[in-house]
Subunit: 338 residues, 2 copies
Amino acid sequence: MKTAPRAQDVADLAQVSQSAVSRTFTPGASVSESTRNKVLAAAQRLGYRPNALARSLITRQSRIVALVMSYLENQFYPLVIEKLSQKLQKQGYHVLMFIADIDEGADGVLADILQYQVEGIVMASTMLSPTLAKSCSDVGVPVVQFNRISDLGGLTRYATSSVTSDNAAGGRLAAELLVARGYKRIAFLAGLEDSSTSLERERGFKEALSELGTSVSYRDTGHYSFDGAKDAARRLFGHADRPDAVFVANDHMAIAVMDVLRQEFCLRVPEEVGVIGFDDVPQAAWGAYQLTTVYQRVEPMVDATVELLLEQMRGEVRAREIVVPCMLVERKTVRPAA
Amino acid sequence: MKTAPRAQDVADLAQVSQSAVSRTFTPGASVSESTRNKVLAAAQRLGYRPNALARSLITRQSRIVALVMSYLENQFYPLVIEKLSQKLQKQGYHVLMFIADIDEGADGVLADILQYQVEGIVMASTMLSPTLAKSCSDVGVPVVQFNRISDLGGLTRYATSSVTSDNAAGGRLAAELLVARGYKRIAFLAGLEDSSTSLERERGFKEALSELGTSVSYRDTGHYSFDGAKDAARRLFGHADRPDAVFVANDHMAIAVMDVLRQEFCLRVPEEVGVIGFDDVPQAAWGAYQLTTVYQRVEPMVDATVELLLEQMRGEVRAREIVVPCMLVERKTVRPAA
DNA sequence: CTGAAAGCGCTAACAT
DNA sequence: ATGTTAGCGCTTTCAG
């Protein structure tokens, strides 16, 4: 465990100055072909790699982006990790992971994050408290809220960027489909009461229903968890006057609902109960579920996130909200048109 | 976007030396109560946070651990990210994510990693090439291979630590169960041909079958992907003399197999075909699958990983292999005892 | 194009 | 217990 070679070691071996070494590893610096080759050869022999941390200290660019998450049970988020890491890697950035306790929120963890001089923060499945928004804004670290926005109320002074699906529009699509297919007693199963994602989906859903002359007859919350959704399903469907369709705030919970419907209540989907989810996670397409759902595509959302991050790092824009369209994916949990 | 406050700024405001500030933020340093308070007050006012990168430069401790992955489709791995991040956070470390392209392997990405002065590397679902093992060993960065070990052949000079389940024992359990329940024409569906995990599971499975006086009648590979497994299932079951049971190298593929069995071949599980998976991912317990499987617990595996990492960072041990026991979880995809 | 020198923000001797 | 000093490994003026 000897110490790693430094630029000076390479310089000594290559018989050049230490700055020459630095320049060789700095894209676009002016070095002659011959010195560059001497340096590279020496570096190769010693197994030299520039110390990114030391570089950051002076360039003030850590090339690190923090990703804060708390809810990996839902397969949507692992996909986000994967795509975001890949995209950022391609831009020369790297992702530092932070798992926020669901209870304590992101605040605790964010104190840590800032010490690492991250150049940007992506908050997925976690909300940014106004306090934190201010902290980040003060330090000048761009924040992008992914798939969840904070209700800052009037406190929009520290506006942060966000990327979301058009959740309300998605909710409308769900409503229109259920009505068109003749479902009458319609339920909504929420995620978390303070989740903008869930709230927007619900808002669009209800608005469309009301325009179509009907409304939500039943409502419950599944806390975005599988077991929470099962419990909610038991409450919703465990009585005679049960709903004949349910729009669930995400696929993860929708699948839980289907399990309860079929196994505990022996109800047939979609004949006796229609189910619509949201996200289009890979599991929604699995043979046993074939869930009709509203997709939100990870790829364009991640692209938008990276774009937002980069433009803010360059100091171009203060904050911007990007809304990505979503679309209905019809599978087999809503009965076909008569 | 003004520049962040430095220790010197705090010192100036608090009317103390810059070292006093440093000491205040160094646990266990000797500072008087009064200076500490002055410093904390000043730091608070300025919103000062120590620069972890600058600190790393001198302490030679980045408190960063790299996590290399490539295969997040399988829900087993997101769980690993979650647990590992949490555990390391608790120890004051943080996880820098690296997604390795499946094709190019981890080599490309590792050049990057080392620049970040990570204190350890966890390779999950990716193999370490002997070249890389050497690089890491040279720099003295501990590496833990998680759930996959390299077949270095004779090149065990750069032995790396690993954490795996007792895959062979798990394979044996699967074999014993299938034989005990009277299945006769038994198939094995592999993950990747060069994956130690899959190979070990297969080895134990075959050994036990042979001890029980039978053997694997059919074999195919699903490349650890959902679609790959479906294709393999079509090949395995698409003829008259089909298997009556299959042990699949992991749950993710086992679920794909079940979809094909039920929907494309209208075969009933477990009556006509028995299915056993491996991992016990959350989805294995979902109502529509209820997969009988061999569990490998993420939690103890992650604990072992962190332990291995920490002890090697302290320079205590060179390399150690930890094997975590696994156990059968019987659900409903293997028929009950007669 | 190249080397010398200054310093990024911090910690860790070393004095006092 | 506190301040002074010397770097950690690197980039970036500034001369030449």
